[in-house]
């Protein structure tokens, strides 16, 4: 068994790891560079200072991103959870349509959703704003929520719900006291994923954002179009640190609640 461990697989893994980390390592090193260029000329925190105190646009963009992420994730989680419960446990007209239509966005390239929403908004005369971004983010998050919540429902026996009915629970009681508690870990996971995807999204947002509704990824995009800048190096490192911290925090919170 051990003979298959070394050789090609190990080599490929090492190459992959180096391929992944080398670029990030370069960013980390040069964010502390004293000069503007990519030639090392001494340690300095100058670019972090610039980032913290002279980049108001970036911070405004971050604020907008957080607002969009929270509002769209709450909405998508609510709609998606109910949808998943309905699709998973019940039969009704248009069930097939809804389950296919809420899966399809997952497999289409992002640009399709961006372009089609932009054209829709133009056709009905809705001006591009934070609101149109909100609509787009809810839409691309829905399939993920449905997927995650229904894989949670997969692990449960419908007989639990039937037992509740037999014991005299009304529909509302069954939903609030049985179904939702059962699916809570899935709901929380879906919400966390939705927040992440929303904070991350560039392509779809690019098409549906109007003047004055620049989100963080859009702001970063407009900065990196013009090549290397030490401020972006510093920003990258802070974002890297923040996302790793948030990911572990999210995982920790999730564990703390559900796996004690």
């Amino acid at each position: 068994m051990n003979r298959s461990k070394g050789g090609v697989p190990l080599f490929a893994f090492v190459v992959t790891a180096v391929f992944f980390y080398a670029p990030l390592l370069v960013l980390v090193c040069f964010s502390f560079n004293a000069s503007r260029t990519m030639t090392w000329s001494g340690f300095s925190l100058r670019w972090y200072g610039e980032l913290l105190f002279h980049s108001a646009d970036l911070w405004h963009a971050l604020g907008r991103s957080v607002i969009i992420a929270l509002s769209s994730s709450v909405t998508a989680t609510a709609l998606g959870t109910l949808g998943a419960i309905g699709i998973y446990w019940y039969n009704f007209r248009f069930k097939r349509y809804i389950s296919i239509a809420s899966f399809l966005p997952l497999i289409l390239p992002e640009i399709i959703m961006g372009v089609s929403l932009l054209i829709l908004f133009a056709a009905v005369g809705l001006p591009l704003s934070l609101f149109t971004i909100f609509i787009a983010h809810v839409t691309f998050n829905l399939p993920f929520v449905v997927l995650i919540v229904s894989s949670r429902l997969d692990e449960f026996d419908y007989s639990v719900v039937e037992a509740a009915y037999d014991l005299g629970a009304r529909e509302w009681d069954a939903l609030v006291k049985v179904v939702l508690p059962i699916s809570l870990p899935g709901i929380v996971a879906a919400f966390l994923i939705a927040v992440t995807l929303s904070l991350e999204d560039f392509v779809i947002t690019f098409f549906v954002a109007g003047p004055g509704s620049t989100t963080l990824p859009l702001q970063i995009y407009s900065m990196i179009r013009f090549g290397v800048s030490p401020v972006i190096n510093a920003l990258s490192v802070m974002l890297l640190a923040a996302s790793i911290a948030l990911a572990f925090l999210g995982k920790g919170v999730y564990r703390y609640i559900f796996q004690r």
């Binding site: 809804i98 399709i112 809810v138 839409t139 993920f144």
Partner: protein, 283 residues
């Protein structure tokens, strides 16, 4: 009676996904058959102009480039992802290694692209290094060509390939490999005739996760590509915002939608369990 309750639960999502996904896609299809408005938008008159333009030589060439770039990066990604996933699945430290692969991808997607701009760009790390050591005089152009696009596409999608491959290989019964060897197969034969066919679902999913988003890429060719690496996504955006030919943009987007849907359906038919794996590896 409970039937109605199910419809009640699914009604909001059904309405939302209809309004903001099904309707917009239908509008695109509709617009692609309209005449072009003077300043963007469309004139409501039936016209096949957009489809005529869709089949002109320049656009077909772009489609071919897009296909090749996506295909090459998918292939290279697989070549690296398969053995790497195998190594992770067989390691004692699989959880740690898996985390190691996932961590860089918690960073913003644009920052990941930027990391390559900072390395390969004209005033980037590699050029600075080469100039200083006297190997080159003057900037070498590493960026803004098809090689840069392939590298960054690989960088973007490698984890999406590794995850489904990993979960497929983890389920594989390795004693089958030993049995193959005992029956006289060489190591290569064992891998190609026993391992690979058994993880077909994983490979299918990895291809799906890499090829389709790469095919519809917009940001990567825009940021690190050049004249030789125009992709369909870039053209859609250009027609929409610069040339203001909305019927053409709609026609390309509609064609992209149809191609993607068809290839996904084909893949699913090819391998039913791929659907299962997609479920497992998305979050």
């Amino acid at each position: 009676m409970r039937k109605n309750v199910g419809a009640l639960y699914a009604f909001p999502i059904g309405l939302w996904i209809t309004l903001f996904f099904v309707v917009p896609i239908s509008v695109i299809v509709l617009y692609s058959f309209m005449a072009k408005g003077l300043y963007g938008g469309v004139v409501f008159r039936f016209s096949l102009d957009a489809y005529r333009e869709l089949f002109n030589a320049a656009l077909l060439h772009t489609a071919l480039t897009t296909f090749l770039l996506a295909a090459v990066s998918t292939l290279l990604t697989l070549v690296l992802a398969l053995p790497a996933a195998y190594y992770i699945a067989r390691s004692r430290f699989r959880n740690t290694l898996l985390l190691l692969i996932i961590i860089p991808f918690w960073t913003n997607f644009l920052i990941r692209i930027y990391a390559w701009i900072a390395i390969l760009g004209n005033n980037g790390f590699l050029n600075a290094l080469l100039l200083r050591s006297g190997i080159t005089h003057g900037y070498a152009h590493f960026l803004y060509n098809r090689y840069a696009v392939v590298i960054v596409l690989m960088y973007t999608y490698l984890p999406y390939a590794i995850l489904p491959l990993y979960s497929a290989i983890e389920k594989f019964d390795f004693s089958l490999l030993e049995a193959a060897r005992d029956l006289g197969a060489t190591r290569t034969q064992a891998v190609f005739r026993v391992l690979l066919p058994n993880i077909k679902a994983g490979i299918t999913t990895a291809v799906l996760f890499t090829f389709i988003p790469a095919f519809g890429q917009y940001a990567v060719p825009q940021l690190v590509g050049g004249r030789d690496s125009f992709m369909l996504g870039t053209v859609i955006a250009r027609e929409l915002t610069v040339s203001r030919n909305w019927p053409l943009a709609s026609a390309i987007a509609a064609a992209l939608t149809v191609m993607t849907t068809l290839s996904v359906l084909a893949f699913m038919r090819l391998n039913r369990s791929a659907g299962e794996l997609i479920r497992e590896s998305v979050p």
